[in-house]
């Protein structure tokens, strides 16, 4: 039976509370993982393990962390993602809301992009 949006959110929330030591009410759909919830790279690893377990899915590293695109000179010019690079990012992460990022796509801002809502959308795309 497919999981409802609420069920997905609840399990993602549990995983984030566990991994980041934050309170339930801090984990809102709009909260950014890095800026609002204080996630560091070690935490992303932990979050991946917890989500894989909670949803019985496999999360290949490049699906959540497109470092290969962001460090490719074909897709990045002077620290800004090119049109070709944006297309590549959208292809890699169709579930992510890249609208805000696209307005000023600086590589240094990408890390702070991901929200709890994006994570739920990602899980949704994997469990179907």
């Amino acid at each position: 039976m497919p999981l409802s949006d609420d069920e997905i959110f609840s399990k993602v929330q549990d995983a984030l509370v566990d991994a980041l030591g934050v309170d339930d009410d801090e984990v809102t759909p709009e909260a950014t993982l890095v800026g609002d919830l204080g996630a560091e790279s070690i935490d992303f690893l932990d979050i991946v393990f917890k989500l894989e377990k909670a949803f019985d899915i496999t999360i290949p590293r490049e699906e959540l962390s497109p470092e290969d695109i962001l460090t490719n000179s074909q897709y990045v010019q002077d620290g800004v993602v090119t049109d070709e690079g944006m297309a590549e990012l959208k292809r890699r992460m169709p579930w992510a809301d890249l609208g805000e990022f696209e307005k000023n796509p600086r590589v240094q801002d990408f890390g702070n992009l991901l929200t709890v809502g994006d994570l739920c959308a990602y899980v949704n795309s994997k469990v179907d």
Partner: protein
């Protein structure tokens, strides 16, 4: 105490909050194994500094009445950075919850403001469970008080939470 992980207590609100320091010395023998090419304080040793801070926090809080303060659980331990020889950890431990004889302590160690380890520790005030005639509890209690003064001297206490 040879496995002492707190050099000195810098502030103490008994039962509530304790801050302390620990400097990693270049001649600490375990560094030869951890790691031969990259000497750094083992993560669990930093965690032990938090643990010892929690123990003294609790013991001073009830005037050393409990013979034993045992670690029951550790949660959410994250190692953020390494500590190299010559560097100093600032340890902060705060009691955040008490349920019966179990106390939850939130603790952090930082170097120059950067967190090297954070953890939530749950410790329990308890007694040895040995038969009365053996006298373990009295013995342990007495030794605990003596040890605190030997390790840290006269520690000024504060009533405020800074």
């Amino acid at each position: 105490m040879k496995y002492r992980q707190l050099d000195r207590i810098t502030s103490l609100f008994p039962g509530k909050k304790l801050t302390a320091e620990r400097t990693l010395r270049a001649d600490e023998e375990h560094l030869l194994d951890h790691f031969p090419n990259f000497p750094v304080m083992p993560g669990v040793m930093m965690l032990e500094a938090l643990h010892q801070a929690a123990i003294w926090l609790i013991k001073t809080g009830d005037d050393f009445q409990s013979p034993l303060v045992l670690l029951r659980e550790v949660r959410g331990v994250k190692f953020g950075d390494f500590l190299s020889p010559g560097e100093t950890l600032t340890i902060t431990a705060e009691a955040i919850k008490q349920e019966g004889s179990r106390i939850t302590v939130k603790a952090t160690a930082t170097k120059q403001g950067r967190k090297t380890v954070t953890a939530r520790l749950i410790l329990e005030k308890t007694s040895s469970g040995d038969p009365q005639h053996v006298g373990t509890d009295d013995d342990v209690r007495r030794r605990g008080i003596k040890q605190f003064h030997e390790l840290f001297g006269d520690v000024a206490t504060t009533e405020e939470t800074a």
